[in-house]
C-alpha cells in the first residue's frame, strides 16, 4: 500500500467501499499516525504528481521536437520550458500561500482579488512618480497583509466559515481595485519595476527567482520552526491543538496573513509583467488554479497536511497543460474541456481504487475503465 492510499484512508476512514478490509484500514491508519509525512514515504508522495508532469512534457516533446531546446541569448535562457516556469510564477506564489490555508482546513477565495488590489496599488504609486521601488513593493505587500488580516480575523476570531469569509473580500476586493483605478486600466512606464515581471537575473527570469525565494523562505520558516507542525496540528483538529496549548486562532490568522503576502507578490509580478493594472482581469479565477494545484500536489482540503514543493509541481502541471493545448494547435474552445479531462485523470491517478482498476485492466485486458 502506498502513502497516497494512506492519506485518503486516514482523512476519510468512514468510506469502506474502497475494497479494503477493516484490518488493512487499521494498519493504514496506524502507519499514517506514525509517519509524519516527511520521511518514510516521501518518494511515493512525489511520484504521481511528477509522473503526470513528465507525461505532459513528453506529449509536448512529441508534438514539438524542439520543445526541450534551450537557447542562451543576451545573458538569459530562452525556451519553452523556461516559458512554462516563468508563466506559472504568479499561480505558484498563490499556491504556496494557499497550501498553508488549506493545511488549516480553510480556503482563500480572495487571493485573485488581492492580486488585483496590490497591482492597482503598485500602478497608482508608480504613476505618482515620487515613490522608490522598494517603497512601492513594501506598500503593496502591506496591502496584501491588510487583506490577509481581514480574512484572518473573520475566520479565526469571528468564526465565519472560510469559504464565505473570503468570498466577501473576493467580491468587495475587485471593487476596491476598480475604485483605486477609477475603473480605468492604469499603465505606467518604469523599466526598473517592469524588470520584476519581465527581467532576468543570472540567466533566469526574475519571477522564477521570486518563486524560488518565496519557496525557500517559507520552507525554512515552516519546517525549521514549529510553525509548520502547528499549522498541520490546527488543520487536523483545532480544538485538540488548543488543549495542547497551541494558539489555534493565532495560527489561523497567521496563515491568512502569509497568504495575503504571497498574493501581494503575485500581484506585483503580474502588474510588472504587463506594466499596468487591470482591476477587472488581474488574477481573475487564479484562486481556483491555486487550489487545484495544491490538491494535484496531494493535499486534502480537509486540512492537516501540506507540502509547498508538491503544490508548486501542481502549478507546473496546470501550466504545462495549458502550453500543451496551445502547442497541439487545437482551437481555443477545446481548452477548458481538455483541462477538465486531464485534471480528472491526474486526480484519478491519486485514487488507489483507480490504479488497481488500471492494473486489472492491463493484466486481463478487460474493458472496464473508471472514467465517467
Amino acid at each position: 500500500m502506498t502513502t497516497e492510499g494512506v492519506i485518503l484512508n486516514s482523512s476519510q476512514p468512514e468510506q469502506q467501499n474502497a475494497g479494503q478490509s477493516n484490518a488493512e484500514q487499521l494498519k493504514a491508519a496506524r502507519q499514517a499516525r506514525y509517519s509524519p509525512g516527511q520521511s518514510a514515504h516521501k518518494f511515493s508522495l512525489y511520484l504521481y504528481p511528477l509522473l503526470a508532469l513528465a507525461l505532459l512534457l513528453l506529449v509536448n516533446l512529441l508534438l514539438d521536437p524542439q520543445f526541450f531546446s534551450l537557447q542562451w541569448q543576451d545573458g538569459r535562457l530562452y525556451g519553452p520550458l523556461i516559458d512554462i516556469v516563468n508563466r506559472s510564477a504568479p499561480v505558484a506564489l498563490l499556491a504556496i500561500g494557499m497550501s498553508l490555508v488549506i493545511a488549516t482546513g480553510g480556503i482563500d477565495l480572495s487571493v485573485g482579488a488581492v492580486m488585483a488590489i496590490c497591482g492597482a496599488v503598485c500602478a497608482n504609486l508608480l504613476l505618482l512618480g515620487d515613490w522608490s521601488i522598494p517603497a512601492v513593493i513594501g506598500l503593496a505587500v502591506l496591502t496584501g497583509l491588510a487583506c490577509g488580516l481581514v480574512n484572518g480575523v473573520m475566520v479565526s476570531y469571528l468564526g465565519i466559515q472560510p469559504i464565505v469569509a473570503t468570498l466577501v473580500l473576493m467580491v468587495a476586493g475587485r471593487g476596491v481595485a476598480q475604485l483605486l483605478n477609477q475603473g480605468q486600466i492604469v499603465t505606467f512606464q518604469n523599466p526598473d519595476f517592469a524588470a520584476l515581471g519581465s527581467g532576468d537575473f543570472l540567466g533566469l527570469p526574475v519571477p522564477v527567482w521570486l518563486v524560488l525565494l518565496a519557496l525557500l523562505v517559507m520552507q525554512l520558516l515552516l519546517r525549521r520552526t514549529a510553525l509548520g507542525l502547528f499549522i498541520e496540528a490546527v488543520g487536523c483538529n483545532a480544538k485538540a491543538s488548543r488543549y495542547l496549548g497551541i494558539d489555534d486562532k493565532g495560527i489561523k490568522l497567521s496563515v491568512y496573513l502569509l497568504t495575503g503576502c504571497c498574493a501581494a507578490l503575485a500581484g506585483i509580478v503580474a502588474t510588472a509583467d504587463i506594466q499596468g493594472s487591470d482591476a477587472n482581469n488581474a488574477g481573475l479565477w487564479l484562486e481556483l488554479d491555486a487550489i487545484l494545484a495544491v490538491v494535484i500536489g496531494g493535499a486534502a482540503l480537509t486540512g492537516g497536511r501540506f507540502s509547498l514543493p508538491r503544490a508548486v509541481i501542481g502549478v507546473l502541471i496546470i501550466q504545462a497543460l495549458s502550453t500543451t493545448i496551445v502547442v497541439s494547435g487545437l482551437p481555443a474552445k477545446f481548452n477548458l474541456l481538455i483541462k477538465a479531462l486531464v485534471i480528472l485523470l491526474v486526480l484519478m491517478l491519486q485514487s488507489e481504487l483507480f490504479r488497481n482498476q488500471l492494473k486489472a485492466l492491463f493484466s486481463f485486458g478487460k474493458a472496464h475503465g473508471g472514467k465517467a
Partner: protein
C-alpha cells in the same frame, strides 16, 4: 424559541430589517411589485441554491452549477433554434442528461473517494468547456412556447406579477422542502452530513444517496438554466459565471453549516431573498458606480454574516445559562 430554528429566525429578522431599510428610504420599495420582482429576478439563483443546500447538508459542495446553467441554456437554445425541437422536448432531453452529469460526479466522489470540491471544480471546467464547444456565441431563442410562457402568470394587486418561472420556482421550493425535511432521502442526507461513518453503520445507503444528491443538484442547476433562458431569451456559454459562489453564499447566509448535517431549505430561500434585497437596494439607490456597488455588496454580506454570528452566539449563550 426553539434553538434549532434560531439561525432561521435571525435570517428572517435580517431580511425584514433589510426590507424596512429599503422601504424607509425609497418610495415604492414596500410594494408587492418589488417582492414579486425579487422572486422572478432571483428564480434561477434560488433553484440552484436549493440543490446546493442538499449537497452542503451532506457535507459536500458543488462548484459546477454555474457552468451547468450555461450548458443547459446553450443546449436548449441550440435544440430549439437550429434543430427546431419543441422546447418541452428539449427540456426532456436536457434534464436527464444533467442528472447523469451530476451522478457521474457523485460516483467519482463516492467510489474513488475524490474530494467534492475538486471533482465539481473539474465538472465546472468540463461543463463550461462543453458549452463553449457547442457555441461560442450567444444563441437567441425565438419560439411561440417561450412567448406563451412569458404571458402566463398570476396577477396580484399592487403591481405584483408572479410569472410562470416564479410559480415553478415556488413549486420547486415546496417540493424540496418536503424532500429534505419530510422524506427518507432527506434524513439520509442529514445523516451523511452529520457523520457518514455512523450513517453507514446505521444502514443509510451512502453510495446511492451521494450519487442521487449530486444528480439532483445538477438537475436543479439545469432547471435553473432553463429558467434563466426564459429570463434572457437566449443561451450563452459565458452566462452565469460565479453563480456557484452566490448560491453557496446564500446557503450559508441561510444558516446551513458548510460542514454538513445542519441547515434548512427555508434558510436558503431567506438567504437568496436577502442577497436579492441587497441588489434591489443598490438598484433603487442608482447613484453607486459599479465598483462601489461591489464594495457595498461585500460590506453588507459581511455585516449580515457577522450580525448573524453575533446574535446566534449571544442567544445560544443566554439559553445555555438559563438551562
Amino acid at each position: 424559541m426553539s434553538r434549532t430554528y434560531l439561525p432561521l429566525w435571525i435570517t428572517f429578522a435580517l431580511v425584514l430589517l433589510m426590507f424596512a431599510a429599503g422601504a424607509s428610504q425609497f418610495d415604492g420599495f414596500a410594494s408587492l411589485r418589488v417582492v414579486t420582482n425579487l422572486i422572478s429576478d432571483n428564480a434561477f439563483l434560488l433553484v440552484t441554491a436549493l440543490g446546493m443546500t442538499l449537497v452542503i447538508l451532506s457535507g459536500g459542495i458543488d462548484l459546477s452549477v454555474g457552468s451547468v446553467i450555461a450548458l443547459s441554456g446553450v443546449a436548449a437554445a441550440l435544440l430549439i433554434g437550429p434543430y427546431q425541437w419543441h422546447p418541452l422536448l428539449a427540456f426532456a432531453l436536457i434534464l436527464p442528461c444533467a442528472a447523469l452529469f451530476g451522478a457521474a460526479m457523485g460516483a467519482l466522489i463516492q467510489y474513488y473517494q475524490l474530494q467534492p470540491f475538486i471533482v465539481t471544480l473539474a465538472g465546472m471546467f468540463l461543463a463550461r468547456g462543453m458549452a463553449t464547444l457547442l457555441s461560442e456565441e450567444s444563441v437567441a431563442i425565438e419560439h411561440p412556447f417561450y412567448d406563451a410562457v412569458a404571458e402566463f402568470g398570476l396577477e396580484l394587486p399592487d403591481g405584483g406579477w408572479l410569472g410562470a418561472t416564479s410559480l415553478l420556482t415556488i413549486a420547486l421550493v415546496l417540493l424540496m422542502l418536503v424532500l429534505t425535511h419530510y422524506s427518507r432521502f432527506g434524513s439520509y442526507v442529514y445523516a451523511l452530513g452529520g457523520n457518514s461513518q455512523s450513517a453507514q453503520l446505521m444502514g443509510v445507503p451512502v453510495a446511492r444517496t451521494t450519487i442521487l444528491l449530486y444528480a439532483s443538484s445538477s438537475m436543479l442547476a439545469a432547471m435553473a438554466g432553463i429558467i434563466f433562458s426564459f429570463y434572457t431569451y437566449s443561451g450563452y456559454a459565458l452566462a452565469a459565471v460565479g453563480v456557484e459562489l452566490d448560491a453557496i453564499a446564500a446557503v450559508v447566509i441561510g444558516g446551513t453549516l458548510l460542514t454538513g448535517g445542519s441547515g434548512f431549505i427555508m434558510g436558503t430561500v431567506l438567504g437568496v431573498l436577502l442577497m436579492g434585497l441587497i441588489q434591489t437596494y443598490i438598484n433603487f439607490d442608482g447613484s453607486l458606480s459599479s465598483w462601489w456597488s461591489k464594495i457595498v455588496i461585500g460590506a453588507l454580506l459581511f455585516f449580515f454574516i457577522a450580525l448573524q454570528k453575533l446574535l446566534s452566539h449571544k442567544w445560544q449563550h443566554k439559553a445555555g445559562s438559563k438551562a
